[in-house]
Symmetry: C2
Subunit: 157 residues, 2 copies
């Protein structure tokens, strides 16, 4: 029963969805809320298990999957074989950002610089898409791919 009271924003969503509020789910949400990183399921599991040793890896996977489907969490694949998870709206936490990904070394840069200009643009597009395709859009992702300075120096390709 960790974090009860705080973070009620998602508890309401759980109830509306008929999903039970359980200790493992609270722990996972807390962890995602407090981190600045792009965490893999295993990363979350390690922290969760440290907090509450009775939490298993399977539950972490299942929780992350549920949260992704609910639109509370966003799942990313940066190309290194394991999925990464981030809270979509992190009140008081990490700022909304987009990604710059090096295709060679898989380095990820989070940028927030031009987000403000992007927001207006994105929202306009979102409204149009939502209407045209009868889609309820809850989130978006923008990524740029290329080579970082370090990898550009190196030979090949």
């Amino acid at each position: 029963m960790r974090g009860r009271g705080r973070g009620a924003w998602w508890q309401e969503r759980f109830q509306n969805a008929g999903a039970r509020i359980t200790a493992p789910r609270e722990v996972v949400l807390d962890i995602l809320h407090e981190t600045e990183e792009h965490m893999s399921a295993a990363d979350v599991y390690v922290k969760a298990h440290a907090i509450n040793p009775s939490i298993g890896l399977t539950t972490v996977y299942r929780t992350l999957d549920m949260l992704t489907q609910m639109g509370i969490v966003q799942k990313f694949d940066f190309g290194d074989g394991k999925a990464r998870f981030e809270l979509v709206n992190n009140p008081g936490g990490k700022k909304h950002h987009h990604h710059l990904i090096c295709l060679k070394c898989k380095a990820i840069i989070d940028y927030t610089e031009f987000i403000d200009e992007e927001v207006e643009f994105i929202e306009k597009t979102q409204r149009k898409l939502s209407k045209k395709y009868d889609f309820t859009i809850t989130d978006h992702a923008i990524s740029f791919f290329g080579q970082c300075a370090k990898c550009r120096e190196g030979v090949s390709f």
Copy 2:
């Protein structure tokens, strides 16, 4: 030796990179060039193997990976456990597009409607990011996530 003469655009890039032009690579590029779908490695393999039975799955994976690192192909993860590949620039082929993804049923909609407006915006951002982070940007991806009309009707979440 399929497709020699045509599609010389990538052959030059191979030579500059010191990569050999081989039959399997030509076949894979041809397949990607001719399709309208988001193909998995297995999908590509099936077609490639049908054209040239001596082509193995491993080579398809290795080729796709190389093309991705070269920026010729873009690798996507739509959340169903297998990676998808698309040619980045497909002269005379499929138009550049972005994705609308249903988090429930994993349906993917390719949209091209508002691309033109996006292009100008994206290029501006790209120039700024490229400069600030000393990154050579070769491509981008924009995706919107949510629920399609069909899944919205269904209960849960």
